[in-house]
């Protein structure tokens, strides 16, 4: 277990030493800030939007987080691309392989380090709606559900990206393939609308459907379990992939 923490801390440190992390944080914040201000102006102009069904938390938080997820879909593969591929390319992966840390510990450590970055993103995303607190009556439960949804979604994105990164030596390929994989799992939703057998199953497998519930403040254990399973599956696949590489 101590190996996991050591690797996680090292990984987090290296993530924040790279300009990429800061650039990603800055761009995400800039775009979401822009969206947030727009939503705010919109809401202020049309006060009647806030009827008994849609509160300010719904409109601001839900709108913002719905948009945030698209940005995250674009940037998470950039954050995960170098996790394994770069180490393999530079030869530093042997350091981990020849250390007493097991493959599972290596994968979990890397993922935990990445989770640290996700939390930083999450804080930035939480601050925006919360800045309305002094002026409005915010439904904190809805904001929290939205943030939880975002966090679970990022975990799923991160695990899938980590797996793709373990497949290749080239970070750019890992980014493109990671993005492709996420988009595909996202778009499975489309199949759900077709008139084919098991259409509902596809709808259930899609990443986006489960997020929408949480974004609207609907906490369902099934959605949480979906993300946890999705994340675990890809972490497990990563371990398998690395094991395969060694033998």
């Amino acid at each position: 277990m101590s190996h996991v923490l050591v690797i996680a801390r090292g990984e987090l440190r290296r993530i924040f030493l790279s300009p990429l992390a800061w650039a990603v944080l800055a761009v995400v914040q800039l775009i979401l800030g822009f969206v947030f201000i727009n939503l705010l102006i919109d809401y202020a102009r049309n006060a009647e939007l806030g009827d008994q069904f849609t509160g300010v938390a719904d409109y601001m938080g839900g709108g913002l987080y719905g948009f945030a997820i698209i940005i995250l879909l674009l940037v998470m593969p950039l954050m995960t691309m170098r996790l394994f591929s770069e180490e393999r390319k530079s030869g530093s992966f042997t350091l981990l392989l020849s250390s007493p840390a097991s493959l599972t510990e290596i994968v979990l450590g890397k993922f935990l380090g990445l989770t640290g970055f996700m939390l930083a993103l999450l804080v930035l995303l939480a601050i925006m709606p919360l800045s309305l607190l002094p002026g409005t009556d915010l439904d904190l439960g809805r904001i929290a559900a939205g943030l939880l949804g975002l966090f679970l979604m990022m975990q799923a994105f991160g695990a899938a990206g980590l797996f793709v990164s373990s497949l290749t030596r080239e970070p750019t390929i890992a980014a493109v393939a990671g993005f492709g994989l996420l988009l595909l799992v996202w778009l499975i939703q489309i199949v759900a609308y077709q008139d084919i057998p098991f259409a509902e199953v596809f709808g259930y497998l899609s990443l986006i459907g489960h997020f929408d519930n949480l974004r609207r403040g609907l906490f369902d254990t099934a959605d949480v379990i979906y993300y946890v399973l999705f994340t675990s599956l890809f972490l497990w696949l990563t371990v398998q992939r690395l094991d395969l590489e060694r033998s």
Partner: protein, 314 residues
């Protein structure tokens, strides 16, 4: 225990698809030994070392490090091991101190002792001055030292170094060699290279690998050819010389010179000198023809069949 066995590899084999990189290699490393691994490019040195370090699973065979099986208890076995691959496994964006602290953590050194471990590894590798510099800004020689410091930070009984002097200038090579000799006093070292003088300079024992097999495994002191040249002023018949124990063949070279081919273990020089004096042969010269490591190397690895190009990758 001076001859405690630290690495014991039995029947180590590795295939890459149809290519056999290492085929049934046995290796034993005792405490306090510096073992040099020699071989032409693509002979399987790096593959062997990767398997010993647990970075690559062998197709067949087993590795025991300090008595712990690498396959059954990899975590415990690797604690006794430090490994420096061909390319030092460093993170250019970290400083030397940060990197070594990270490595100390990876090798299960408890947080309180990490600073001490880092300081002592830096001292051993001559890195005390550069602790706060970014690894990426250091010269290749210093990066190599950082890699070496990483391999010994947890004071493992066994250190595996894969071509530690490749790409260094002559002065750096000397320094690294000095470092390795120093290491050899407190650790057991396996060192690979295809540079013969390097092996001769630092190693106590040599293993020559050719096409994935160990074809030679002797201590440096015993690098000796199995032939004796003798020159006599009043030579006897060649048959008289043949009667010595261990002598297989006598070749007359003319002018009273003979070359005696002997068994590996036999060394009849003493008896020869005694007999020459007793029989008044007039001994002018008596010497063991020592083969250099280079001759042995060339003899054992001279390609009789074209080398498999795909094996180069190994």
């Amino acid at each position: 225990m001076e001859d405690q066995i630290l690495i014991e590899a039995r029947g180590l084999s590795r295939r890459y698809g149809p290519t056999v990189a290492v085929a049934g290699l046995d290796l034993t490393l005792r405490k306090g030994e510096i073992l040099g691994m020699l071989g032409p490019n693509g002979a399987g040195k790096t593959t062997t070392m990767k398997m010993l370090a647990g970075c690559l699973a062998p197709t067949a065979g087993s590795v025991k490090i300090n008595g712990v099986d690498l396959r059954e208890e990899p975590s415990r076995a690797k604690q006794h091991l430090g490994y420096l691959p061909e390319q030092p496994p460093v993170y250019p964006e970290l400083t030397v101190d940060e990197y070594l602290t990270y490595c100390a953590g990876l090798h299960s050194i408890v947080p309180r002792q990490r600073a001490v471990a880092v300081a002592s590894a830096k001292k051993d590798c001559g890195l005390a001055e550069v602790g706060r510099r970014l690894i990426g800004n250091l010269s290749k020689g210093y990066q190599q030292r950082v890699g070496l410091a990483q391999a010994i930070i947890h004071r493992p009984p066994v250190v595996i170094l894969d071509e530690p002097t490749v790409g260094l200038d002559p002065i750096q090579i000397r320094e690294i060699r000095g470092l390795i000799t120093e290491l050899g006093k407190s650790h057991s070292v396996i060192l690979s290279s295809h540079i013969l003088p390097e092996i001769q300079a630092v190693c106590g024992r040599v293993m020559i690998i050719h096409r994935g097999r160990a074809v030679y495994n002797e201590s440096i002191g015993q690098v000796r050819g199995a032939a004796i040249t003798i020159e006599l002023r009043r030579p006897p018949k060649a048959d008289d010389l043949r009667s010595f124990k261990g002598v297989q063949k006598v070749a007359e070279l003319g002018g009273g010179r003979f070359r005696l081919h002997c068994d590996d273990a036999a060394d009849p020089r003493e008896q020869l000198a005694e007999l020459a004096a007793r029989n008044n042969w007039g001994l002018l010269e008596l010497r063991a023809e020592s083969k250099t490591l280079e001759e042995i190397f060339v003899e054992l690895t001279a390609g009789d069949e074209p080398r498999d190009v795909t094996a180069e990758a190994a």
